[in-house]
Amino acid sequence: MLSDLLIRLRALFRRDAVESELDDELRFHFDQQVEKLVQSGVPPAEARRRARLMFGGSDQIKEECRDARGVHFLETLAQDVRFALRMLRKSPGFTAVAVLTLALGIGANTAMFTVVENVLIRPLPYAHPDRLVRIGPPNGSGLSNTSWLNYRDIRDLTRTMDVVGCYAEDIGVVRGKDGSVTAVTPGVTPSVFTMLGARPLLGRTFTEDEGQAGGPKVAVISEELWRDAFDSDPGILNRTISVNGQPRAVVGVMPRDFRFPESMGHDMQKGLWLPIQPTQMMQTERGEDFFAIMGELKPGVTLAQNRAELSAIAQRIHERDPKAASDLSLRAIPYQETLTGPVAPVFLALVVAVGLVLLIACANVANLLIARSLVRQQEFAVRAALGAGQWRLMRPLMVEGALLSGFGCVLGFAVAAFAIALVHKLPPDTIPRAEDIGLRWTVVFVLAAIATVTTVLSAFLPALIVSRSDPQKVLQGASRGVGARSVRRRLSGALVAGEVGLSALLLVGTGLLFHTLWNLEHVHLGFDVTRVTTFTAMPADASGFASMTVSSDVQHAPTSVATLVYQPVLERMRNAPGVQEAALDTAPPFSGIDMHTSFDIVGQPKDSAEDRGARITAVSGGYARVMQTPVIRGRMIGDDDTESSPYVIAINEVLARTYFPGRDPLGMQLDLGGRETGMIKPYTIVGIIGDQVDTSASQPPQPSLMIPYRQVPSTSIFYDALIKTVVNFVVKTRGEVAVAPAMRSIFRELAPDYALDNFQTMQEAVDQSNFSSRMGLLLTGAFAGMAVLMVIAGLYGVLAQLVSYRRREFGIRLALGATPSGILGLVLRQGLVFVGIGLTIGILTALFTGSLVKGFLYQVRPVDVWTYSGVVLLLLAVGSFAALVPARRAMRVDPMTALRDE
């Protein structure tokens, strides 16, 4: 066996040596033969002649020896490859189109697979990623936050989880070498670091003591924060830094690739982690929902078991605390799913789209190969007649197809690399785990698999067809081409029709998305974005969202920051050059901040079955003017609403409709919690303003409350959350002025410890919220565009072949009196038949699958008349365009030349 292999290899690699050896061996035999004859008395010349006769054809012998040595297969394969290369070089146009087509299809698929693999499939870089779950009350298909008490109870009662922890999203201000900077500062329990198996770059993570109430003030910072704000100080550990105005000792530095919690986005890389130290509020109130609970399942425990236990725990919590936890329900979702869940359907759709494009590409290449095989019919017929087996006939075509796939692969790899580079250029946080996306070894394997599939699809089928055709028929009547209906042409036609169908599907998708984007962009925002800029301001001693406190010491309530800082700042802002109007709003539209509160209507019975809840923001005077939001009734909050004037509140239309149906809300009073929340005085409704889009364009406006920023008592919970953490300013300028420098200098003068950030125009904020729709449209549109181009090429190719095949027939028709325009019509009709069949298939498929894409659409029905009619018209036009050139060539056939040609 080994000798066999060695001989074959030697024959392959040392062909020349082997050949000359064979020569020598045979010549030796010949010489011996001659010598024998000479010795028996035959004259030398005669001896040579006879010997040559006896020898026979030495070439044939050599051929048989070579056969016996078993190299025949490989040698003929090498021959096929050389031949195929030559054929491809001879028709550069065809080769270029085919390779490009395949490259686009392969490249797009490879890139898509890479993204999907890295984002959806690859496990998170934590200790036991498959056992990590997030727990909370269900909210749609996701989870919402819950209270610290619920976390504690789950932690104490669970028997299916090894470790339980929780975290709270938060932002804060850090004092670094360049002054105060905003940073994300999530709170985590020490068990979270344990659960994740996180290994710090320097130092350590939190100890259990540091997670207790009243524990030491410490922090763990991120590598990037360490490098940027603290100059990679080697003595960072146990150095004290100022976070929210409070000194904290740095006990550890986390490496760059530790990004928990991922929900805080890209900024987490430059943030820091604080230990959750339960405050009085956290330990008594079950209604303060700021915490997300994480757990690590015990090995062997299934998700179903965990979920069952959580239902039981929820039940026990309800028994323990019936009033507060009346409708608590808890659910567990694998942690990775919470991150990637929202994008999974999008990616799935894209995978399908990109797969369709590859199919179209393969169909095109197959068509092109079939068309070429028509030209080589004679050659194949002769080969078949000479006895070549079916496999031997298929080989050249398959080799050509394999070569095209190979080139397509190489080019496709470049396309994929380019596409992935583009993905990295997207704004951060567009795609979860975007930093992880990169070309890996698995990609190469997938590439090879895709290439194999494309080869088989695009070369195998045509090769099969070609090798099956009856050589006799071909040799006898091929070139006459009088309307012969060969299987080949039907296959080509079917392929083109298929391409048209697939393109129709993609185009319908594009059209629907375009319509959706159009709707989103024209949603009635409820405000005017012209020349409005927003930015955030955070005090150096920001409280943070999660650390809410209520103080009952009303007598010695500290002066609100709103009065101390924001009011003078606003005055200066309004007088700054170029500024038309300025206002404060804790959460303008698209700010990403969404605070909710429950409330009661004074004078109406507290109906606990119907919780009244609304979005709540604090605003200054001038807000409605900046945003150009109409005041429907009464008046809007003004600058005269200070801490010493009557407490007032404004509501929006949705709230008026929801909670005051058929009544006049003006003059009614709202209770925002009384002593429990520190909002002791009730607020009188003084005005109703128009609805504004608040979180995203596709969501309807929520019921909203607006209180004057100076009427949030500094002893209340709302003070920390609304005023003392982060506020937004909205500024309307007179022209296209950049406000940042002026704003920064105002703050530097009046409030130097405040960190300003997130300067953006309202238009930018709106665009950002539509970004994913726009991206989806771009991608689908690109795919559809590619598909249409390929359809044009495919249709053109098929019709061109058709025309050249039937030249003689057209010549005869013209000679017999047909008009050129009649011939033109004939070819056009043929083309449109293909398009028509394809369109029908495509449209029907689109109709059936329409319900699948409902989730991506906004106020567009899946059976959208505009989209469908547009697609039909477009493809008919495309078909006619592609058919035009061959059709014109057909009608220009000179009968005499055509008849004479063979």
Binding site: S3, L26, F28, Q60, I61, E64, R69
Partner: protein, 110 residues
């Protein structure tokens, strides 16, 4: 001069070559001469069958080749039997004898 040509089936030729080489290494010419002589000039192996057979046997590993000097000092390719070739020879010889005996029996009685 043209001796009676009996067409040898391929398998039989292999057997004869192996048997000839069992006596010692030899080149193609000598093998064909020897078979011719020993068969009382009945069997004349043509080059067209001999060399492909030799190459095939070499590929199967039953004979191995090396270049050497011939009796008249010319460069010639010598073949010799390998161990597995010897085993193969035994097997094939046994099968041939069985076959020949069976055929002879049928011819005699039928």
């Amino acid at each position: 001069m043209p001796e009676q040509r009996i067409d040898l089936p391929q398998g039989t030729l292999d057997l004869l070559i192996l048997r000839t080489l069992a006596l010692g290494p030899n080149h193609g010419w000598a093998i064909s001469e020897r078979i011719h002589q020993v068969s009382s000039k009945v069997l004349q192996v043509q080059q067209g069958s001999l060399y492909p057979a030799l190459h095939r046997l070499e590929r199967r590993g039953w004979i191995k080749a090396r270049w050497g000097a011939s009796e008249n000092n010319r460069r010639a390719k010598y073949y010799e039997l390998t161990k597995s070739g010897r085993k193969q020879l035994e097997t094939e010889e046994g099968e041939w004898k069985k076959l020949a005996a069976a055929v002879a029996q049928v011819l005699e009685t039928a």
